[in-house]
């Protein structure tokens, strides 16, 4: 394995972790916000450094130099590959913008310490490839929202019940897989169920609605936007699950995508709308991942990045509006356009990017996802298109209700602040640049998709003679993955 030139990964995790400890002690919210921005920005720069370093090395996988954690734990837990390298700066940026764009009237209610802790846990989760490390970090990652629910005195039962279920399923599932080997029915079903709970697949999605209702919008945003369930699916489920388990997960996710999209069209509150859109988009990512053809997997990985970016921006815009007008109902028209035309444009742009509108980052990803889905089964493709169409209606309806209508009367200026302007422009620029020049991003996602399928085929070959239980990857899984495998395992065709 190749070493990076600096301990980027450890630094990107330890900096926000240290920040969480320091910022959590501060009494004055303004000071806490300022320090949180510094820690989060430093972490973001480390992830950018890691990305550039990895790219420059041209390696398949890389870990930190100096191996500080490896010396402590006995093995190297933090390893990055082509799949995850561009995701880390993106996730870090989402946290940074969320912290930075927090307005003075929100700082009292928003916990910067917990957000930094969440940032550290998310980056650690995405940088980790050790299965038990992933399990532990995924479980720990559920704690910050719980702490916030508790600190606000809001009901925790719905969230707690679902997250305990998630932790139990995840730990139990991976224990079974460890004990019985890849392909074990009980283990993979439990793992699949854990992924379904964490992603919010119907009927296990109620916790997400409850979370959006009861925590700060920013907290819900940074907890949901990274689509951690997709990461668990890629690292734990996809390599070991039989095809029929993946098909089952894809079917449930598909149902969720359409159901949540339909729900988004009738919501009467902006937070619930955002929740439904997140649910639908996360489910679409899972559909693509579980369909497990090269095209759909590439599409899903592209849509995953697009969702982080576009839904992150969409959430930040809604949060900025909430900071001005309080909880936003979706009844009648708010008439906010004249006050904040930039926010209106950003809202429309991020919303449209999330549905894969031409010229935005999500366009090619959505095309690939539909193409791959039709390749797997035509009905899946039609359902994916239906979900996208409904999401599009929901987004434009929300735009109309929030920004059109008789001008909102306010005694104070509701104009966009410089820091918000920077945040929305940064996201808009990334969405548009990614949309106009998609080839580098798509090529990198395709490479990652092939690598994932290659690992899946490799694992099935490794375990088949020993166990005889794992069903082999479907022939259509990936011709290119097989051809890659043929290069590494010359006798695959004889096997």
């Amino acid at each position: 394995m190749t070493d990076l030139h600096f301990a980027w990964l450890e630094a990107s995790i330890l900096i926000p972790l240290a920040g969480a400890l320091g910022v959590g002690r501060l009494r004055r919210p303004g000071e806490a916000r300022a320090q949180a921005v510094v820690f989060s920005a430093a972490s973001f720069l480390c992830t950018v450094g890691e990305w550039l370093d990895f790219d420059w090395l041209g390696a398949e996988r890389a870990d930190d130099c100096w191996h500080l954690l490896a010396k402590t734990l006995g093995r190297e837990p933090l390893v990055i590959d082509g799949l995850i390298t561009p995701m880390l700066p993106l996730l870090s940026l989402l946290f940074l913008l969320t912290i930075w764009a927090t307005l003075p009237n929100q700082v009292q209610k928003f916990s910067f310490g917990l957000t930094l802790l969440q940032q550290a846990l998310v980056l650690a989760l995405f940088s980790c490839q050790e299965p038990w490390g992933i399990v532990a970090l995924a479980c720990l990652g559920t704690l910050p929202p719980y702490f916030e629910l508790r600190s606000r005195g809001n009901p925790t039962r719905v969230y707690l019940a679902h997250m305990l279920l998630f932790v139990g399923l995840l730990v139990g599932g991976w224990s079974f897989v460890e004990l019985q080997g890849p392909g074990t029915t009980a283990g993979t079903i439990l793992l699949a169920a854990a992924v379904l709970v964490r992603t919010g697949i119907v009927p296990l999605h109620c916790w997400m609605r409850d979370l959006f209702e009861h925590v700060a919008f920013g907290t819900a945003l940074v907890f949901v936007a990274p689509v951690a369930g997709a990461y668990l699916s890629v690292r734990l489920l996809l390599p070991v699950a039989p095809s029929w388990v993946l098909s089952g997960v894809a079917l449930l996710a598909l149902t969720t995508a359409v159901y949540a999209a339909a729900m988004a069209t009738i919501q009467r509150e902006a937070r619930r709308l955002a929740c439904c859109l997140f649910l639908s988009h996360s489910a679409l990512v899972i559909v693509g991942l579980q369909t497990a053809t090269t095209t759909s997997l590439t599409g899903a990985l592209c849509v995953w990045m697009s969702v982080v970016l576009s839904m992150g921006g969409f959430g930040l815009t809604l949060r900025a509006l909430e900071a001005r007008c309080g909880r936003l109902s979706m009844i009648g028209f708010h008439g906010l356009y004249e006050h904040a035309p930039n926010l209106a444009m950003c809202f429309a742009l991020t919303g449209l990017a999330s549905i894969g509108f031409p010229g935005t980052f999500g366009f090619v990803g959505s095309e690939l996802l539909v193409d791959g889905a039709v390749e797997a089964h035509p009905h899946i493709g039609v359902a994916v298109v239906l979900a996208a169409a409904l999401n599009g209606i929901a987004v434009v309806r929300a735009y109309f209700q929030l920004f059109t209508g008789t001008r909102y009367t306010s005694s104070i200026s509701l104009r966009i602040l410089a820091r918000e302007r920077f945040a929305v422009l940064a996201l808009a620029a990334l969405i548009l640049i990614g949309g106009l020049v998609p080839q580098p991003g798509v090529a990198s996602r395709h490479h990652a998709a092939e690598e994932l399928l290659r690992r899946r085929v490799q694992l099935s070959l490794d375990s088949a003679p020993a166990k005889g239980t794992i069903s082999k990857a479907r022939p259509q899984d990936s011709q290119s993955a097989t051809s890659t495998l043929q290069r590494t395992v010359p006798n695959i065709t004889n096997l």
């Binding site: 729900m263 449209l352 031409p358 109309f400 209700q401």
Partner: protein, 462 residues
């Protein structure tokens, strides 16, 4: 010195680049909060549209001079991975060149008209951002050489149209109508996307030259079986019906008249409404493969024309009357396409678009024009009665009148039998979810009342 192929390529790229540049300039300046002045916007609009129009006319001249009937321009592969490619390609042929010249000429006319018509209007900059989006979409869709490129342009046109219908956004009615238009367009977009993907899988190609043969339009032969052609063709017909307001989606067209007159004229009277017919013309070799499909296209067109002719007679405002008059012609154009009369349909489309633009632009001064005519002849204009009025039984007459007044009950039918049942079902699921969450969380009365959702939803908006 350039050879003629290089020259056509450069000119062709200019045709596409000019509206895209206009969109970039207006869009970015608005996004960063530094909108251009009215004068600067006017200059950008005129210069970019004129540049694109002149370039397209130059291409026409070169093609006529050289006898070239088909000039594809490969911009390159936008996305290439081993199992998928998205190439950007534009085609200049007997269909796309007249249509793009028509689009740019009308966009230029309307651009010049709107700079005066909307002078000092609050949404001046917003109008021209949407206008630029529309112009870019129309140009891309007209010249698209692959179905994916056509889809991209198609979506841009749809979004700009819906936003322009809701242009006067201080009032609720235009916004509701904008949402209605957008909803129909999403159905249409979904149908086109599914058709594109199915075509891609059936033939392995999204390139029109390979999909429909490289013979110049309207010749060409699609490598599909009759059944496949019927399936794909019906999806394309659904897409075209949504975009061109054919039956049963005709209800959105009069609603679109809520937008400012320039946009009504160029978009719903002249260009946007013809885009569905353009799509059918572009894929006409597929229609040739299935008699059933051709009959379906012709029937939808005839039905639309008959319905619109009836509805147009009872409209009480000039823009709605003109919109239904447009629909009559669009229906006839669609029928011509179904009957295989490709050139007649194209000529009909161009002539109709020009006439209708003129009528729409004169609409705000209609009363003035009538008075001028009456002053000139020295008496009132004669009231014209329909020839059928005396021939129809009274009851049928009344029924037809109500049918026309209610616009064929199409909107009511779609709302009552399609939208509302779905909305009610989803609302029921929503209520069940809330009850389940309350039960899980053990929420008290306070929490329940806080969660209680007011009764207004999508159906109110529609």
């Amino acid at each position: 010195m350039f050879d003629h192929e290089t020259l056509i390529k450069l000119l062709g790229l200019s045709v596409v680049a000019a509206p895209v540049l206009l969109l970039s300039v207006l869009g970015i300046s608005s996004l960063v909060g530094r909108p251009l002045s009215e004068r600067a916007i006017g200059r950008w609009v005129k210069s970019s549209t004129a540049a694109a129009l002149l370039a397209s006319i130059a291409i026409l001249a070169i093609m006529l001079a050289l006898g070239t009937r088909h000039a594809p321009i490969e911009v390159g592969s936008w996305v290439v991975i081993p199992d998928y490619h998205f190439s950007v390609k534009f085609v200049f042929d007997r269909l796309s060149v007249p249509f793009v010249i028509l689009s740019l000429a009308l966009c230029g006319t309307i651009g010049a008209f709107a700079t005066r018509y909307l002078h000092r209007e609050g949404g001046f900059n917003r109008f021209f951002v949407f206008y630029a989006l529309f112009a870019a979409g129309m140009t891309i869709a007209s010249l698209a050489g692959t179905i994916e490129t056509l889809f991209a342009g198609w979506e841009l046109v749809g979004l700009s149209s819906a936003l322009l219908v809701a242009f006067f956004h201080e009032r609720a009615a235009p916004v509701r109508n904008g949402l209605r238009v957008w909803t129909v367009y999403r159905v249409s977009d979904a149908a086109l996307l599914v058709a594109a993907v199915v075509l891609h899988h059936l033939t392995g190609e999204g390139d029109f030259d390979k999909l429909l043969g490289d013979a110049p339009w309207p010749a060409g032969y699609a490598m599909l079986s009759s059944q496949q052609a019927l399936t794909v063709g019906l999806l394309l017909l659904l897409a075209a019906a949504g975009k061109s307001a054919l039956v049963p989606f005709s209800g959105w067209l009069p609603r679109a008249m809520e937008g400012p007159t320039p946009s009504s004229a160029v978009f719903y009277g002249a260009l946007s409404v013809h885009l569905g017919a353009f799509l059918l013309l572009r894929v006409s070799p597929i229609l040739d493969l299935s008699v059933g499909l051709s009959i379906a296209v012709a029937c939808v067109g005839l039905l639309t024309a008959a319905f619109a002719a009836l509805a147009a007679r009872v409209q009480t405002d000039i823009k709605c009357a003109l919109s239904f008059a447009s629909l009559v012609q669009v229906g006839l154009i669609t029928t011509e396409i179904g009957l295989g009369l490709r050139y007649i349909a194209l000529v009909h489309m161009i002539g109709h678009a020009c006439l209708r633009t003129l009528q729409f632009l004169r609409a705000p001064t209609l009363l003035h024009d009538y008075r001028t005519m009456e002053n000139a002849i020295g008496t009132r204009l004669p009231a014209r009665g329909g020839i059928w009025a005396g021939m129809l039984p009274e009851r049928l007459h009344v029924w037809l009148y109500r049918f026309a007044l209610e616009r064929g009950y199409l909107d009511a039918w779609l709302t009552d039998y399609l939208v509302l049942p779905l909305v009610r079902a989803v609302e029921w699921c929503d209520a069940m979810e809330l009850r389940w969450i309350e039960r899980l969380s053990g929420a008290g009365a306070d929490e329940r009342s806080r969660r209680a959702t007011p009764q207004a939803s999508l159906d109110d908006l529609l």
